[in-house]
């Protein structure tokens, strides 16, 4: 109570200082929630890639690559180290690549040859898994339910074709949330029509893929397998777990650093404003500090008093910043839900971390002013007008 009264002795100044911290923590929470979402997406990718190799031909675009033949992918099964090579088609859900933040929604078609070897945990919120016979049927990720109106049993339109939804996935906070899964042959129909008309006559539609997913035999190191595939045919781009880390995780890591960097800069500004406020407050209360010391307050008690006040400023700023940040995130996510584009994730560690950090910032910023107050000579402090 005494601490709170002391902080609000100068109401406007307390309000402005707390606002400074609030803005910093707000930035940290909102941008941190963005980074958390991306981190989860990458973690999901890392999890998915940990025991397999993906293969594309020619220039990789990140999402699949140039058309390649199913035969060529299947031929990899001739290698001793390969258990199954499944052919896939991955293309964006939207025909036009719209400018979205984060990852675009995807259509993935697969021949499901690797289904029994898949270790990536996927469970169903509703409905069932796809089987090889399910032509004209799809399962969809949780972020797409609202966007496509895709409840189980509904018919949805994907790239101008109608599909029946047979299953909805549980949220994974990763790529599957934004993906429509279908049989390879359905995806081949769609992919075929995206290709330029002049090359279509030379292509066998049923032999079309954009890439393959290679499941190694037990005991095979997927990274070594990827190297071996690339060495065998240098038209093939094979990506194992390590390379995925190097490519994707490294780039998103930089993004995460930028995001936190911006937030930290605003917090440094907030911290400086706490130092300023506490220094002013100590100066104004020089005489009071003299009285307290005359009454027998030890240096430690004076330090605790002022650190308590600066820590309280930090706590208030932290809670307000977290509150405003959480509201903003939920509004933006609600707004993004319709387009399946929820780019923020407020994790527990972010909630706790931001408030703890705000208190720490307040206390750290109060250290010098508090130390200065404690070191005052009581006689001189008492003479201060």
């Amino acid at each position: 109570m005494r601490t709170i009264r002391n902080v609000f002795r100068r109401k406007l100044r307390a309000f402005l200082t707390i606002s400074g911290i609030t803005i910093g923590i707000f930035a940290l929470v909102v941008m941190g929630a963005m980074a958390e979402k991306i981190t989860l997406l990458v973690d999901g990718g890392t999890e998915f890639y940990k025991d397999k190799v993906t293969v594309t031909e020619g220039e990789s675009h990140g999402l699949g690559g140039d058309p390649m033949s199913v035969e060529k992918i299947r031929s990899l099964e001739n290698m001793d180290e390969v258990a199954v090579a499944s052919a896939d088609i991955s293309i964006t859900l939207e025909e036009e690549m719209s400018a979205t933040f984060g990852m675009p929604d995807l259509i993935t078609g697969t021949d499901m040859r690797g289904q029994d070897l898949e270790t990536f945990p996927i469970s169903f919120a509703d409905g069932r898994d796809l089987t090889t016979g399910d032509l004209g049927k799809v399962i969809i990720g949780s972020d797409l339910v609202k966007k496509l109106d895709g409840r189980v049993g509904n018919t949805i339109t994907v790239r101008g074709r109608e599909f029946e939804v047979v299953g909805v996935l549980n949220k994974t906070f990763s790529m599957p949330d934004k993906t429509v899964y279908m049989n390879l042959s359905d995806a081949q129909d769609i992919f075929y029509e995206t290709l330029p008309e002049f090359i279509r006559p030379n292509l066998d539609k049923t032999n079309l893929a954009t890439g393959g997913t290679i499941y190694p035999t037990p005991g095979t190191d997927p990274d070594q397998l990827a190297d071996k595939i690339t060495a065998m045919d240098n038209n093939l781009e094979a990506v194992g777990p390590q390379k995925f880390q190097d490519n994707i995780a490294a780039t998103t890591g930089i993004f995460t650093m930028i995001v936190y960097g911006v937030a930290l800069i605003s917090l440094v500004v907030g911290g400086l404003s706490v130092i300023n406020t506490m220094t002013m407050s100590v100066y104004e209360r020089t005489r009071e500090i003299g009285i307290r010391k005359a009454l027998g307050a030890s240096d430690g008690m004076i330090i605790r008093q002022f650190l308590g006040e600066s820590g309280f400023i930090g706590l208030m700023g932290g809670l307000l910043g977290l509150g405003f940040g959480a509201i903003t995130i939920s509004l933006l996510n609600k707004w993004g839900e319709a387009s399946g584009n929820q780019i923020f994730l407020l994790t527990n560690r972010l909630v706790i971390g931001s408030v703890v950090f705000a208190v720490f910032l307040g206390v750290a910023s109060g250290l010098y002013p508090a130390w200065h107050a404690a070191r005052m000579n009581p006689v001189q402090a008492l003479r201060h007008e």
Binding site: R2, N6, R9, R292, K293, G296, S298, P378, V379
Partner: protein, 225 residues
């Protein structure tokens, strides 16, 4: 029994780079337990400085200070802080209450600094305030109290830890004559009832008249006690 001894005290303060004030030049005095003593002298005679040294707020450059037979001028800052909290009570000119705290909190703060638990400190504060006739105004802030009332709170604060000695620096300095007389009478009564030792630095002849003894100072020395 001598409770306080100042022996040949010297103190210089530095104001500017080459600007020193020689506030005390070999001042000595003794105070006996249960006495009420006034220290008088013109401005700059060193009477406030000697009070600060006796109250363990500062250390002399030369000379000794003894409180209850124990030498205190060579103690560490930490030990001086403890003595200030437990063995000395201060009454300042201009009351010097903490403006954000109620009367009761101002008094209990002194008890808390001396190591009393918050609850016991509050009980002691209530009792000390009742003793000075402020039992009805416990929760008033200093700004809601008159000058005389504020000085009563300050006296309660000086007495709450039952100190060996109470030091006052112009305790009636900011009060009108009538209120000043009340405060002097109150200190005298506490002195007589509880055998509390008072040393009061003052310009006010009414205080010196009420005291057992007057110590005169001039130019940093005691001229007459």
């Amino acid at each position: 029994m001598v409770i306080l001894t100042a022996n040949n005290l010297h103190k210089r303060y530095q104001l500017g780079k080459n600007n020193f004030v020689h506030a005390l030049r070999g001042a000595s005095l003794e105070v006996v337990k249960g006495e009420m003593v006034a220290i008088m002298g013109p401005s700059g005679s060193g009477k406030s400085t000697i009070m600060h040294l006796m109250g363990c707020l500062d250390r002399p450059d030369e000379g000794h200070v003894q409180l209850s037979g124990r030498r205190v001028d060579n103690l560490s800052g930490r030990e001086l802080t403890k003595i200030r909290g437990k063995e000395v009570g201060f009454i300042f000119q201009g009351f010097n209450l903490i403006p954000t705290l109620s009367a009761a909190d101002n008094v209990s703060l002194a008890a808390e600094y001396a190591g009393t638990s918050r609850r016991k400190a509050r009980d002691a504060a209530d009792a000390a305030l009742a003793d000075v006739g402020m039992g009805e105004r416990l929760n008033h802030k200093p700004s809601e109290l008159s000058g005389g009332e504020q000085q009563r709170v300050a006296i309660a604060r000086a007495l709450v830890n039952d100190p060996r000695i109470v030091l006052g620096d112009e305790p009636t300095g900011d009060l009108d004559t009538e209120t000043s007389d009340e405060i002097i009478e109150m200190m005298r009564k506490i002195n007589e009832d509880n055998d509390t030792t008072f040393v009061l630095v003052t310009h006010n002849p009414e205080i010196s008249d009420a005291c057992d003894r007057v110590i005169h100072m001039r130019d940093g020395q005691v001229t007459d006690s």
